[in-house]
Each structure stands twice: as C-alpha cells, then as structure tokens.
Assembly symmetry: C2
Homo-oligomer: 397 residues x 2
C-alpha cells in the first residue's frame, strides 16, 4: 500500500508546508544574523531554578501532578493566574474560586485556538482576520475547512468601520484578532477602536477570538484593556505563558462564555485530555513565589532596550520611503516598502549578506498581497547584531 | 448575547457529556470502593526522583527544553524510545537515527489519535471499531463527524472473518483497534488473528489505527507483536507513557507511514505546535538512566498480584452464569452477565453498598448494546479492597 489518497481528507491535502518554516530553517545557520525568528530569549527562562520549582511543586501538591488531571486544568495554576488577569481588567470584585473556575488551561495558546475552531468552524465557514495575521492560527482554521476575509488595518490596528462593513455584507462565523503587539505587525488596536469593535460585535451578535500572548510584553506606554472586558459575551479570550515563562512547556489559557467554554472542554477531552499537569504545577509555583513577576521585570528591560535599538537603526539607516511600525511592546516590527518593492527578492539578497527576515506575503490569506512588506524580530539577538543586521539590509535597499 | 446556536457546529452540538465522567465523579467519594477508575497507581510514579530527573535533563540538554521545539518531538526522547520499540519488533536492524526519525511524539496517545482522525476523517466517514471500545477515541472520531460500525469480538479479540465482511460490504475509512489488553475488555488479539487481520487489510488496502497503551503491562504469558509489524504500510501505531511513567505529563508517540506521518505533523502545528519539551526531556532521562525499566518491574509485580486477586475473587464469588475476561495484563477485566441482566440497575444498588464499577453500555457505539456487561479496574485498589468490593457486588447478583 503506497497510495493513501483515498484516505486523506481534502481539507488537509490542501495544507501547504509552511513557507515560514523553510525560511526559519535557512535562518538557523549560525553565520546568519536572523531577524526572522519569533522565539523568546533563552536568558528569560527560569532554567537555573527549574528543578527547585519542580521539587516545590511536588512538596506543595504531591503525586497528583503526575496523575491524570481534569481537562479544565490544574486548579492551583488556574487560581495563580487570576491576579495576573485582574491586572488586565478581568474578575474585578470576583471571588477567587469563581474566577479560577472561569479560566481554563490548554496546551499552549494554540490548543485554545484549536479547541475554539473545532467548536465553531465547519467547512466553508468564514473567519474574518486582520490583514496580515498570525500564520499558526490560519493553519488551524484551514484544518477545519474555513475560508477567510481580510479586515483592513492601519497603524492603529483594524479599522472598525471596515469590520462593520464586513459583518453587514458577509456571513462571518468568527473574527480572529491579535489586538496587542500583533504578530506580524507589532500594531496595537487603540482603546477607542476597541470600544467601537465591542459595540459592533454586540450589534451584530458576532464572536471574536481574541489572541493575546504579548499583553505583558509592554516596554513603554500604558496597558490597554482586552476587548473581552468590553464585550464579555462576544469574546473568547486566549492567553499564553510562552513569552513570559517558557514556550517549551506548552501552557496557554482561555476565558470563554460558559456555553462555549463547556464545549471547548468537551472537545479537548478528545484532543489531549488535558494540558500537562507537571508544567502547570511548576508554573503555579513560579507565579505564586513571585519569581515570574521578578523575571518579567528583567525581561521587559532586556527587550525594551533591544526594541529601541531596532527602531533607532531603522530610522537611521532605512530609506525614507520605507515605513515601519513603532510598537510599544511585543516581539515584532513590520516594514512596508514603496509600491513595487519585492521583499522576496530582498530576502534572497539578504541571505547572501548573511542576514535574514521574514517576507510578508505568507502572513496574508490572499497570497497576492504583502509583497512589499516584511517582518523583523529582535528578542534573541544582541543589540550589536541588531544594528549590524539592519545596516546590512539597508545597504541592499 | 446568550444564544450561540448559530455559531456552534452541528457535529459538536451532538456530543454528549461523557456518561463515564459522571460515574467517576460519584466513585471519587473516598467511602466508595471504586473499581470504576482507569488510573495507574500513584506509587508507580517517579515522584521522589522527579526533581533530580529535571536537573539531569537541564544538565544534559540545557535551556533548549524550555524553548519552542519541533512538532515531531524532542530528538533525545525519540532516540530513547527506539530500544523499547525494538523489543516489540520495530526497527530491527535499523540505524538508530533513522528509527528515531520515524517515531513522533504527541500530547498523550490521545494527541496522536486526534491527529490521525484529523487527517483521515470527514463528516459521514465510517470508522470500524471493536465492540465494545475505548470511549475517548470514539469522542475524537465523533468530533470530526465520523459514523461507526462495530466489529464483533470474542475472548480472543475481533473475529477476522467479521472484519473482512465489513470491509467487503462497507466503505470503511479507518479501522480503530486496541489489540492488547483492550480497554474496556482486557482482551488480547491472538497472534494467529493478527496475522489474518494483517492479510485482510493488505488485501482491502485498509488502514488501521493501532492503539497500544498497555503493551508493557503484561503480567503473565508471552508478548505478541503489534499488527503494525505485520502490515507496516497499513497501520498507524500509537503508544503511550501514561501507564508506565505518568499520565499527567501527557506523552504519547506514533509510528505512521511517511505520507501520513508528515500530514499528522502538519496538522499538529495547528493543534499544539509540539508536546511539552520539559516532560519529553525528563522522560528521556528516566528511560536512558534505566530507571523506567527498574520501576516497570516493580509495577508489573504490583499489578500482577492485584489482577490475580481480582480474578480469584470473581471465580470465587460471582454466579456461574457470569462470564469474565481473563487478561494476562493491562488494567481492566470485563464481566458479561446473562441475557436480561441490567448492569445499570446493579450500579445504582452497588453505590448504596459503597462499591462502584462502570456499566458497559457507554463503551458501545450502539447504545442498545452491552446492558448485561460492566468493566472492573484494579490498579489503584489494595488487594483487601478488591476482595471486599467484589464480594459486595457478588452479594447483589
């Protein structure tokens, strides 16, 4: 038997190999200055205290952290997340136990996106997405057969009137947004627009998946409340510990309207039963001990400085007809060249000069868009390398 | 917004709350002797050495175990699994690196079942399953809209001729089997029948998902090779560390024909990106240090004795018109009463007597079947409690 075409479903056959993966493979060459990645800096991980956190977890919770757990998540971890979420405007004046019951744990934010998609998307359903948007989620939505419609953006995120037009004229099943320090653009939806978006989704009984992995990575400016706090019944809110603790432990969380949270739990019983309990217990100790907060301060300092260097280098070296986003946090900066500029060609030239980035096209659901754009990441590079990398790209422009 | 019915897909709306979950909730009452569960005994977990395994993992692999990893799994862990799999007849005379490349890691065996289902199942597709079978997988298959057809079994597993008739008369997309110490029956498909099944699936170009989480839990008798070794191109083989290491860490693995393995990796990028690396690294150290093998010997001794007590008690106390399976391993024994016997009624009476088990009906895809059957588990109970529990049930019969 060598032909499996009768067995493989059509919605999967059409899944391409990720273009970005191929780029990241090239960029792994240690000789190349890679602004292409999207990884947190390893020095932000609690590597040195990990085994003592592990022992603390066993001392606190016992062997239950190695046993099957409930799909909703390990309760001490869910409790530990509540104060973090209260800082974002959730669960104000809510009893801790009730709040913890409303936070569910998934295998990374990706696990929550998958569960939401599984509950909400049938073949041919339409997902409205920021244009450009995060590829991992596009992949998830496609795996359920979804189609896409793009919501136009500017420097302040999606344009609410454009969203309203889309909802008026199309049967949109769900809206997928990364309102804060978006991947790939680094853009943040302003508070004014969040309020407008909340009003619009209420009016149209529309549902948002709000993907918010970068909330805590704010280096300057003031926090902006999640859309979920402005339209609680219309939003599935998804967070992650990947950027502030460790991506390798695969821990995400979500707050959803009760009916949807129940269904997401139900489908997750068939997907992974539950997120790994050992990591949940270690994360709980990391938060409760105050060590995550302490590390986060160091992480913000580290990234603040790197982002400043990147933005400074762009201002200094890039031609004036190249526009770049000016994020106050997150992991990415987005560059838009003039019409006719070809970022794929630039990429090939840049590789010759031992510097890499991600051309923008793959981030658009319509592959004809974004040829003049590219994404830059700064989290794992030294400031020297950032400067050098940007000046090398600038020489090519 | 309070009505989400326009948003929720129909294949999910129809998912019932798991009947077994409700039963297990009742059985959690510490006053009740619960033969209803399906958990490994916590004393088989490496709780005491866990933080030292964690430190060993950091010393051996560094902070890479906290970073994003590849979807296929953490290579040292995949390498560590190879010798275990060679004992089952896989990768004989295969280079270690090539063998490791062919083992992929998932978030529990459930994660592999979900990935296989996602690649293979569209709404209305037919899955042929043992009757009765494992509920978690049924849940997964249903979440992709699958329908079911039951393969009749006897004490030696599915009847090959029945499988052939089904393949001849129906368009079966995939066959789902747990050939060794099956959940819920404890039955094992004989080698003779495995060979017949291998021949049949080759003849009909049919595809099997072979779910094999209990392989190592053999207390007496000789190992029987997986069907995968007899029909490599027709089988996706799935294993688990849940029964021999820890279910809480959610580690499973799979070996699939290359085309299907690639697609499973691709869909898993959208489901959870990868299984948690920290646990993979700890598991690798647990295996490589020889400590898993040492613990497994103790585990087998513990369970061997408990199973013998359970089977002895059934022989001693149960009426002669009740038939039970005689497994040589695994975690479950299956009881079949005479026609007209109602295990749901018995369950309600048993709860009054402070003893619990799982009535058989939920394990059948056709809910009208199995009323005269029930499942017993023995792994977490003391031998005294097993005896007492069985004698209490016997009094009710």
């Amino acid at each position: 038997m060598s032909d499996y075409s009768q067995h493989i479903v059509s919605r999967i056959k059409n899944t391409d190999k990720s273009a970005i993966r191929e780029i990241l493979k090239v960029a792994q060459n240690p000789e190349i200055i890679s602004l292409a990645g999207g990884l947190p800096a390893p020095e932000t991980f609690p590597t040195k205290i990990l085994s003592s956190l592990c022992q603390e977890a066993i001392d606190s919770y016992g062997d239950i952290i190695l046993q099957y757990g409930i799909t909703e998540g390990f309760l001490p971890f869910r409790r530990a997340l509540v104060p973090l979420l209260q800082k974002r405007g959730f669960f104000v004046d809510t009893d801790l136990e009730i709040a913890a019951d409303n936070v569910c744990i998934s295998s990374g934010a990706q696990g929550a996106i998958d569960a939401a998609a599984k509950v909400l998307l049938d073949e041919g359903d339409i997902v409205a997405v920021e244009s450009p948007t995060y590829l991992g989620s596009i992949k998830t939505f496609k795996s359920y057969g979804a189609d896409f419609i793009s919501i136009p953006m500017d420097d302040h995120g999606i344009i609410p009137q454009e969203l309203e037009n889309i909802l008026k004229n199309h049967k949109v099943k769900v809206i997928y947004l990364i309102p804060t320090f978006q991947n790939p653009t680094g853009r943040t939806l302003s508070l004014k627009r969040r309020k407008e978006v909340a009003k619009i989704v209420k009016k149209y009984q529309a549902l948002i998946i709000e993907d918010d992995p970068y909330f805590e990575l704010r280096y300057t400016g003031e926090n902006i409340v999640p859309i979920k706090t402005l339209a609680p019944e219309n939003v599935i809110y998804i967070g992650s510990l990947s950027k502030v603790f460790s991506p390798g432990v695969r821990l995400g969380y979500y707050i959803a309207p009760a009916i949807l949270a129940d269904l997401m739990t139900s489908v997750r019983q068939g997907v992974d039963v539950h997120a790994n309990s050992l990591s949940q217990a270690i994360a709980a100790r990391y938060i409760i001990s105050g060590k995550l907060e302490k590390q986060l301060k160091k992480t913000l300092k580290l990234y603040r400085s790197k982002l400043a260097v990147l933005l400074g280098s762009l201002d200094e070296h890039f031609p004036k007809n190249f526009h770049h986003s000016k994020p106050e946090g997150g992991m990415f900066v987005w560059v838009e060249g003039p019409e006719g500029f070809d970022s794929k060609k630039l990429y090939l030239d840049a590789i010759q000069k031992k510097v890499a980035f991600v051309p923008g096209t793959p981030f658009f659901t319509d592959a004809s868009q974004g040829l003049n754009t590219f994404r830059l990441n700064f989290t794992t590079l030294t400031e020297e390398k950032i400067k050098l990398g940007i000046s090398r790209i600038a020489e090519l422009l």
